[in-house]
Symmetry: C2
Subunit: 193 residues, 2 copies
């Protein structure tokens, strides 16, 4: 049943997960689900927990600590983008930490291998995770579902700001998110080493 719920989310997005819809999928009544899981919130927690276990840390490649930390951080990002529906669900329900925890452990291990422990390691870890979160929000934001006049590129294209033409044009153009992610993350990582 948790598995079915997970499939439903993967296939049709977080909003498709309603108690009635899931019940229909399982050929039972809505109330049956409540008997088993208690509430929608607990169901979601179970979904995230199950997905979290699947998220076994892939082997990290790279020789220098700098490379390996970048790889561990990039892994968190890629895995989240790969399972965007579940990531969104976790984000909506405040369960992102639960989902990412195994991969966060792998990151912390690489930070220790780089010589960081205690508060210094926690600082680096959180600084990196916050950065990843920011890019995740951008990556999961479905531009197509946003009203045209609320899109960043549209706003810049019609802005009357006293800025260089080339700057405005660049801000009105679409961006290369993976590249942006790498550049920014590298700066954050380097500042902590």
């Amino acid at each position: 049943m948790v598995t079915k719920a997970l499939e439903l989310v993967e296939a049709e997005g977080p909003d498709a997960l309603t108690m009635r819809r899931l019940a229909a999928e399982l050929d039972v009544t809505t109330t049956t689900i409540y008997w088993h899981v208690g509430s929608r919130d607990e169901l979601i927690t179970e979904i995230i927990r199950q997905q979290s276990e699947q998220l076994a840390a892939r082997p990290i490649k790279g020789t220098t600590p700098r490379q390996r930390i970048m790889a561990a951080a990039t892994h968190i990002w890629e895995s989240a983008v790969e399972h965007r529906a579940i990531t969104s669900l976790a984000h909506q329900s405040g369960a992102s930490s639960l989902l990412q925890h195994p991969l966060e452990v792998a990151l912390a291990a690489e930070l220790e291998a780089a010589g960081l422990t205690g508060p210094a390691a926690a600082l680096a870890q959180r600084s990196i995770l916050a950065t990843i979160t920011g890019f995740l929000v951008l990556a999961l934001r479905d531009e197509a579902s946003i009203r045209e006049d609320s899109r960043s590129t549209t706003l810049w294209a019609s802005t009357e700001a006293d800025l260089d033409r080339s700057t405005i044009d660049a801000l009105a153009a679409p961006h290369d998110l993976p590249k942006l992610f790498e550049v920014t993350l590298q700066a954050v990582v380097d500042s902590q080493l």
Copy 2:
């Protein structure tokens, strides 16, 4: 009516903004609101637009470009935290760019003053904004409303990872978000100058 909606959100949070609730507040029928604004989505866009205009960029202090860029970026963060309910609403509806745009213009101006134009300015701007977004998610996340077993600190406290005791303890302890924000943002800004 948009003003009343804005007040409602500020006072009771984004979830309190339902068409029926707003109608009751205005002593009209739900359908009246539809006649005026079309849909909930358009109502939200108007709320954000109105708030956005209020968000006039405060004068930025600091002498060096580095200081002034940090001030402009911190201003975006502080203003979002100050109006957390509207920020959450904008975030939920994909209208964050619309809300923050005036303050983003101020940031872009400081980047130009530092000598960045065109694609280099766009890169710096987006790198900084993504970082702010990450910390905003952490700041607006209401820890109290998250199930205890999904909280990051709880997960670390009960983790069996092969890490130094001091590291785990540091990760299980609460963090100083403003300090973390400043350190991380400074690293990102410096990497772009």
